[in-house]
Symmetry: C2
Subunit: 582 residues, 2 copies
């Protein structure tokens, strides 16, 4: 038996008990006559004491020679601590060691195993097993485990069945790029790893499973943007005999349950806004509504003056920055530079100070008088002491730019509080999205999403106007879930495929099994999928997903710890009927 | 709202309630003046009634025209049923329909959606979504979901953390063949899909996670034997600061918990036998101990007579078949033919009838007198009325043959009862196994398994004699779990790799990260993995795993429903820097 207790367990009540502990040497303090060792495991830290009065010289010497991260086992008795440490739960006691066994030594770790480590990202990833010893990473992984347990608990209680769908499936040209897996037994053929279990969960609905969920790995071979992973985890759900309303209710319930159980936060009924409204008010289909700063459209009040920049613009739109009049001229110039960065892409920014005395001072005073500016203030909801920032140009671009500015300002003003949670539903997404490069429409959600009733006809005349039974759950400016009511009849699905540019032959080759299934009594159904990595990070009050993943990959899709991917030998290639072609 | 209740929900107490139901038309009975429809969903069947007195002519006609597996919605009121059906929970009521909506039609399904379907395996797999509508398959999937929930519940309560390990890892030449995944971003390099998360869970132990588990898909590109799948699911576990005893206790606890919660069966402390004992007593390292028929070694009592077949044999071994004296001569000849089949491979079988009067009649009476045969009976534990079956030859082969016969006889005699559960631990497995083809030793469990204390030295002199800290959990003749205490120091791991034929360079290239990790304070650790598919099938009282998997693959590794694997297009191949070579 390696231990009688963990390093986080001993309290006053254990004083005078004989114990056996095992763990890592976190820290050693050598005062000559006495040596203290902080012994660490997953559960906490316990102070060990060796001193010359009560400890043999040999044992004291051995304690003195312990290195950081050595793995040791000690036998001893729990005693009261002279100087208590109320920062840790075991701080009232220490263990007077009678026997010490080194279970394993350790080289000096390449970074400190502390909450604030001196290790950079690269080093931490290479030695991820050491990084995981650090509380922040360890606690994130434990937190993630807890979240998934609660998700399963809630969905099971609601009658959902967790069904495992296959990982070795078929490649489809649609959507993102698949990872493929050559088949040895089927020469020249490939499996694909699922980008999501979409078609399988729909087939489970055709199969009468009624309520399905799965916490499942998905795969996308995309060029990795920051904070994206080639493999990611999804809470994947589907229900039969439901309308959009039913799905929103169930998964609002799940989200509310998690916020309560995990964060101890009670939230009201989630607001719902349409995609169009979200774009108008926030310039963004995943608005962060922890703070206001809603867009005010200024076309009516700012055009038809002599300021041609605005007159020629499709949209003039502003936001009121609370307390923003406190910005210095230099700070405002920095904001202007910020919106002009290529990543944002605005040509400039007009601003208007709202002075405490009710007067206004704008960067375009030449064209606008106090009465004009008072109208700006009214439309943007600016109060004395605020700053109005105005952008103009093509509608969609300008909204996107102002959204970026809104988020940047909120960040600067500390309005994006990680312990505040503001969920909302964005509904009525467009069915199709124009790919500006190819001029083709593609499915905004995916090709299985149903159009709003009666809008199928619009697909020919005005495809961009068609709205879908599609919805996103947004939390603190992040899309954490998205789904739709699906098409469940072969005809509608065929029309969709046609509009997405599939020939009937292509549609049959790729999705014939699904369209076949639709002919054997497919029920109305719909679902949603949550991005677990992101959800957990947000519930954990953090921005990046990487430290909620035990062994993440870097931006080149590499696991630097195990050094993968890697070449394979020729025999293996030959068995797969493949040749490299570099 | 598609339904107010499910089809399994309505009882007497609902009589006179207005309800809305949705589901599949399971069956229609048309008596002219009245039409009954069995409406089915996941939760049950509810009888709908349409009759000419209470239903409009149009509605009656519509009901009459409903086809099997049509998806319909009905509104109506719950009424008491004239002739009750006590076979189903809703059998006291029926729903008098006032409104009928066909939500979707259905072609006639290719097989009947009944417990005993007329569909063959191939058809069922091609239309798996219809197969899943059948109770046996549907219930298996629900059962599986329940088992995994209970596993997670138990392990969480024991302090285990579920950690997701990566699916895109590195190929290792050791063990079974990997599925590989070409990397687009890292030219000419490949990921591999994990055969198990073995090294990652060990790294989590190095990382101080202390108790890890995961229910996880694993992949093996092997030629598929019956009832094997290229992707399968494992309950994967690892613990730090443990000895074998700790692990056996925790996972005996898990197994006992599952038997209790899932099957309502209380089992005693699991017997433990060594690998050597299992081979001696049952000729098998996964003995089915729901019944006796233990081997009796007859060398002492059957050799040194004039029967040269036995005299020249390394091993003479028999079993007593309870009541086997009832076999006719013809049936015994069939048994002899059975053991001579190439799959079993015995050259012949000697038998001895134990007559009710205490006399014996053997097939080798020429060489053995009654006293000799009485000794056979004593050694094999045969009673009057039994039949003793004896095989002889090379030890290992003969044991394997007799084991096969033992299982066949138990099957014939109905001793393998699916509702009886007899778990046991098999411990002290050999560390290495000789590959007779290559003459090399390979790891019996895997290269990370630790030898018994003090036996490392034996590796040079007598590798086959080295025993490992390795154990299997066996249930009803199936290995449902296996694990070991791992090596946790670099030196021992290097020695192991050397004995497995790795050069130091190869070991470093493949497992350098693990050996590095061992130098930074790796704790003693060990673990186990359960085959979930098999475990669920056994708990479900069934033999084959396929119907506990939603979308299984056939013996060629194909998903015949979606028709995967499939060719991919040249552009995709080019992006991956690959050429087909057929």
């Amino acid at each position: 038996m390696y231990r009688s207790h963990t390093c986080g367990e001993l309290r006053d009540s254990h004083i005078n008990t004989d114990v056996v502990l095992s763990g890592w040497v976190h820290k050693t303090r050598d005062k000559g006559f006495v040596v203290w060792v902080d012994l660490r495991d997953r559960y906490g830290i316990t102070q060990l004491v060796f001193d010359q009065d009560r400890t043999s010289a040999e044992l004291l010497e051995n304690a003195r020679n312990l290195g950081r991260e050595f793995v040791i086992q000690v036998k001893g008795s729990v005693i009261e601590r002279a100087s208590k440490n109320d920062k840790i739960p075991t701080g009232n006691i220490e263990v007077l060691v009678k026997e010490l066994t080194v279970l394993n030594t350790s080289k000096t770790p390449p970074f400190t195993i502390e909450n604030d480590t001196d290790g950079g990202e690269d080093l931490r990833m290479k030695y991820r097993y050491l990084d995981i010893r650090r509380n922040p990473v360890k606690n994130n992984l434990i937190f993630r485990s807890k979240v998934t347990m609660e998700v399963r608990k809630y969905l099971s209680q609601q009658g959902f069945i967790e069904v495992e769908t296959p990982y070795l499936i078929k490649s489809t040209p649609e959507g993102a790029r698949d990872f493929v897996v050559p088949s040895r037994m089927n020469e020249g053929q490939f499996y694909a790893l699922p980008q999501s279990p979409q078609t399988f969960k729909q087939l489970l609905m055709v199969g009468g499973m009624d309520k399905y969920f799965q916490i499942v790995k998905c795969f996308r071979d995309e060029d990795l943007r920051a904070d994206r992973q080639p493999e990611f985890t999804q809470i994947d759900c589907e229900m039969a005999f439901v309308e959009q309303e039913d799905i929103l209710n169930v998964f609002e319930g799940l989200t509310r349950y998690l916020l309560k159980e995990i964060n101890g936060v009670e939230v009201d009924t989630f607001p719902r806004i349409t995609y169009d409204e979200a774009m108008e008010k926030y310039g963004n289909d995943k608005p962060d509504i922890r703070f206001g700063m809603e867009f005010g459209e200024l076309n009516e009040v700012a055009q038809h003056k002599d300021f041609n920049v605005f007159n020629n613009a499709e949209l003039v739109v502003g936001i009121a920055v609370p307390g923003g009049n406190a910005y210095t001229r230099k700070e405002i110039d920095q904001l202007i530079d910020w919106v002009k960065r290529p990543q944002v892409g605005a040509l400039g920014m007009v601003y208007c100070r709202c002075n405490e005395d009710g007067s206004y001072k704008s960067s375009v005073d030449k064209f606008y008088d106090q009465e004009d500016l008072a109208k700006w203030a009214k439309v943007t909801g600016a109060n004395p002491g605020d700053l109005i920032c105005v952008l103009s140009g093509e509608t969609h671009k300008t909204r996107t730019q102002l959204s970026a500015l809104r988020m940047e300002l909120a960040q600067q003003l500390g309005l994006r509080k990680s312990n505040e949670f503001a969920p909302l539903w964005v509904v009525d997404f467009p069915l199709l999205e124009l790919d500006e490069e190819t001029g083709h429409y593609h499915a905004m959600h995916h090709p299985f999403t149903s159009p709003k009733p009666g809008q199928l006809e619009l697909l020919d005349s005005d495809p961009a106007a068609v709205r879908a039974n599609a919805y996103d759950l947004v939390l603190n400016g992040n899309e954490i879930g998205g789904g739709s009511i699906r098409i469940h009849d072969k005809e509608t699905q065929s029309i969709m495929f046609k509009h997405l540019g599939f020939t009937p032959e292509e549609a049959k080759a790729q999705f014939g099994f699904l369209m076949d299934a639709f002919q054997y009594g497919a029920p109305p159904h719909g679902g949603i999928a949550f991005g677990l990595d992101r959800l957990v990070a947000i519930l954990g009050g953090q921005e990046t997903i990487r430290d909620f993943i035990a062994f993440p990959k870097n931006n080149s899709g590499r696991d630097v710890m195990i050094d993968a991917p890697a070449p394979i030998d020729n025999a293996q290639l030959e068995e797969l009927h493949l040749k490299l072609y570099l």
